[in-house]
């Protein structure tokens, strides 16, 4: 498959995976390995000194995976910027999945605060991958602010509903100069394939893998979906039509 290039860094895989909600670190690693992913997201939280657990980072090989810290939990630009700086202080590459979700019910991203935070973080030298609603105008503003990608949602986080924002994502793909990563809501390999067939540059999946009976096998299934979708996009899909177009020659011998 052709390579994905984000901020001058190239990746063989076009499938990014999240590390949340897995039943165990072993299940998380199985999903990462099955998926063939090279970019994995992580979150930042307070240390719980009353319930110490082993660090999940020990299970992620930094030579194999680019760690992409997110700013989940941030409700405004200020909190997101604070989280991004903390991630960088932890020694990560200055990549950040910018996520500002003030509403805990639908977890929809705040466009105004996301743009504000992106402007600051780009100036501070961060490689910013903003999670957004599938809004083509916002995607343009973010791209002009210097973000490395745009990450429109297919459906709200964790809903497994697929590419419900299809028409707007198509406009974003048509207009973008930066990679378009469809993030959130993809519940099945067919959803990932659909996004890739449309010309998305990559997808990000978490819940679908974490809740699978076999996360490793589901990771592998998504890998195939992403590859099939990308290859079909590059091969060139036929246009949809209303009238039937015969696949077999119509000149017959059965009737005059």
């Amino acid at each position: 498959m052709d390579q994905l290039i984000i901020a001058d860094r190239s990746f063989k895989s076009r499938l990014m995976v999240g590390t949340g909600k897995f039943a165990s670190n072993e299940a998380m690693v199985a999903a990462m390995e099955g998926s063939g992913s090279e970019i994995v997201t992580v979150a930042l939280r307070r240390v719980d000194v009353d319930n110490p657990r082993d660090s999940m980072l020990e299970h992620i090989d930094p030579a194999r995976y680019l760690l992409l810290p997110n700013t989940s939990g941030a409700r405004d630009a200020e909190e997101a910027i604070r989280l991004a700086r903390i991630a960088r202080a932890a020694g990560c590459d200055p990549w950040v999945k910018l996520e500002v979700t003030p509403d805990p019910y639908y977890l929809l991203p705040d466009p105004i605060e996301t743009l504000k935070a992106a402007e600051v973080l780009v100036k501070e030298g961060f490689i910013v991958l903003p999670y957004i609603n599938a809004d083509p105008v916002l995607a343009k503003h973010l791209q002009e602010a210097g973000t490395a990608t745009v990450m429109p949602l297919g459906a709200p986080i964790g809903t497994n509903k697929g590419v419900r924002t299809r028409d707007n994502i198509a406009i974003i793909i048509e207009q973008a100069n930066v990679p378009v990563v469809v993030d959130a809501g993809l519940g099945a390999p067919s959803h990932a394939a659909e996004a890739m067939e449309m010309g998305a540059d990559a997808v990000l999946v978490n819940t679908a893998l974490a809740v699978a009976r076999d996360p490793g096998a589901m990771g592998a299934a998504f890998k195939k979906g992403v590859e099939a979708g990308r290859e079909a996009y590059l091969a060139g899909l036929g246009k949809q039509q209303d009238k039937a177009q015969a696949s077999s020659p119509l000149t017959g011998f059965l009737r005059k």
Binding site: G18, G20, V42, N70, S72, I86, A90
Partner: protein, 66 residues
């Protein structure tokens, strides 16, 4: 003296440095990031930064996330 540690009050001996507190809590400074009164403290300054009454400390680490 009392500080606010990850949102909760915590009593400490006067003159405790951040590094000493991390050691008491068995936290590896390579695994966490420390914010002291909203300023990020680089690892090499954890030992020299002494806590004072009323300080607000956030000790953050990576967890799974999407």
């Amino acid at each position: 003296m009392d500080i606010i540690f990850n949102g909760k009050p915590r009593e400490l001996k006067a003159g405790t440095s951040i590094q000493e507190l991390l050691d008491q809590l068995r936290l590896d400074c390579l695994q966490v990031v420390v914010e002291h009164n909203q300023n990020i403290i680089p690892r090499q300054r954890l030992a020299e930064t002494v806590l004072e009454d009323g300080d607000v400390l956030e000790v953050i680490h990576f967890v799974g996330g999407g």
